[in-house]
Symmetry: C2
Subunit: 297 residues, 2 copies
């Protein structure tokens, strides 16, 4: 089934559009995973502690949210051991019935782009660690995106193209020109996705649009009526549910809202003081699900 | 020593600015490495065949050219086995006295950018597989580049920021607006590098500028008098030495010229027909060195 349809089906099944970001910051892991930051631990031990933690988070999230988003950078930090940990985490999430959006922000030309696309989206290359979708960076242009789009067609996978990112100064280049660069890219995203529209009416070629820029989020939603949005910036990065509403299509369709630290490290928040990390994460997932439920109906 | 100074020293020592791209396309490897494409081979065997080939290429290139550029995508295709192969190849290149420019085109925000920077540039994270420099994608803005720039300061490493890429339609977004986006980014690159200028007068924050766009290459060279250029597009991608000249500073300084397929798979070129692949690659390196020698003096 087309990625957009699988995404929409998962959102409807769970009744919310929450996307749990799996960013295993070693310094923030609960004490039982302190091997991740122990100077005496080997690289393999540190990578394993991160994966152990994330596999337990996956158990807590399974059945409650539609998708998770592992962040490649925190795995690459451990080299080949991190790559093993990535494979274990992605496979565990898929086995738990969660969609996996690999946050890899890759982008390159020609056969190199094809190799990246296959590495993450082709089951014959990635095996049990295949992602349902990945994030990609469009700076190199349409010809550089084409191999990724073709991989989506070949493997029923999806993309989320960086359009307007959630960082404070994302406008430096993304707002450049008239029309603004991100609007120009948004129109290209719509065009790249035109042949991958599923039964849901959504395309498998999505866009990353930060909730930290609500006016742009609203404008892009109008410009892109069939593009799924991956919306970062909720929770720890500062945006609340009201800023998110503009990113959804009528009926609460067509978006996933990411929270990473707010879920993974909920045990560090004052309002969860005294809770075991699992209870804090469970509570944070429940809070997010409740907040987003209103938007996903 | 500052990356720019190490780069300039290596170019002067070798008498040329050749950068050998290490892109192990499985389909193009010589027959003795056919395990890389054998359907019956395990992923580990395929990754090992690629690394075996590249380690032999590194032996042929050592002492003759200043630097190599492994392309991450072709390693990521083999997951954790590919990550091991990457580490082996990078460590072998460094042990052979070659500068290593990791072609990873990463880019992300905040602590994620910091994790990517550490993964490739921090010797305490990457060990013997640490890179001297990496390629990065600037689309997310200056705040997203800052952790990479800080890593260069901390680890005496370098960056090559994508400015004008070598693909045919790179202008779609890179030429957007007035001034063009790539010019806007070029000025930012100059500013990011202002505090990392070495004794050579060059900064450790470089730019990727394709030889396939000679007019832009010349204009960018004038705009960025202290920025090292990584120039792809020579050889297999179509540009010759005359197109490259504009990318150098007076005295043949401040640039590295990449060739990947033209060196690695030289044995497939008609003019090398009948040669063992090693002799063909040796000849292709000698040809490139001769062509570039005129530019590096």
């Amino acid at each position: 089934m087309n990625f957009a349809d699988r995404m929409q089906e998962a959102v409807e099944r769970c009744g919310n559009a929450a996307l749990v970001g799996l960013d295993p910051h070693a310094d923030s892991l609960p004490d039982e995973f302190a091997a991740a930051r122990a100077p005496a631990a080997s690289r393999a031990e540190r990578a394993k502690a991160c994966a152990d933690f994330l596999c337990q988070v996956i158990e807590l999230a399974a059945g409650k949210v539609p998708a998770v988003k592992p962040q490649s950078a925190f795995f690459e930090l451990y080299g080949a051991d991190g790559a093993q940990a990535w494979e274990r985490v992605v496979a565990a999430a898929r086995a738990a019935g969660l969609l996996v959006i690999g946050d890899v922000k890759r982008g390159d030309i020609d056969t190199t782009a094809k190799a990246y696309a296959r590495a993450f989206l082709d089951p014959s290359a990635a095996g049990a660690a295949v992602c349902d979708a990945i994030t990609v960076n469009p700076y190199l242009g349409a010809d550089a995106m084409q191999p990724f789009v073709e991989a989506c067609r070949a493997y029923d996978a999806g993309l989320f193209v960086l359009v307007r990112t959630s960082n404070k100064h994302s406008g430096l280049f993304q707002d450049h020109g008239t029309p603004k660069l991100y609007e120009h890219i948004a129109r290209a995203v719509d065009s790249w996705g035109s042949e991958l529209v599923g039964r849901s009416g959504l395309s498998s070629i999505g866009a990353v649009v930060g909730a930290t820029h609500p006016a742009e989020l609203l404008a892009l939603r109008k410009l892109l009526p069939r593009t799924p949005f991956l919306i970062p910036g909720y929770g720890a990065q500062g945006a609340g549910a009201s800023e998110l509403a503009g990113g959804f299509l009528p009926g609460g369709r067509g978006a996933l809202v990411n929270s990473s630290r707010g879920i993974l490290f909920a045990y560090k928040l004052p309002r969860h003081a005294g809770l075991h990390w699992k209870d804090a994460t469970r509570a944070a997932i429940a809070e997010m699900v409740t907040e987003l439920r209103a938007l996903a109906h």
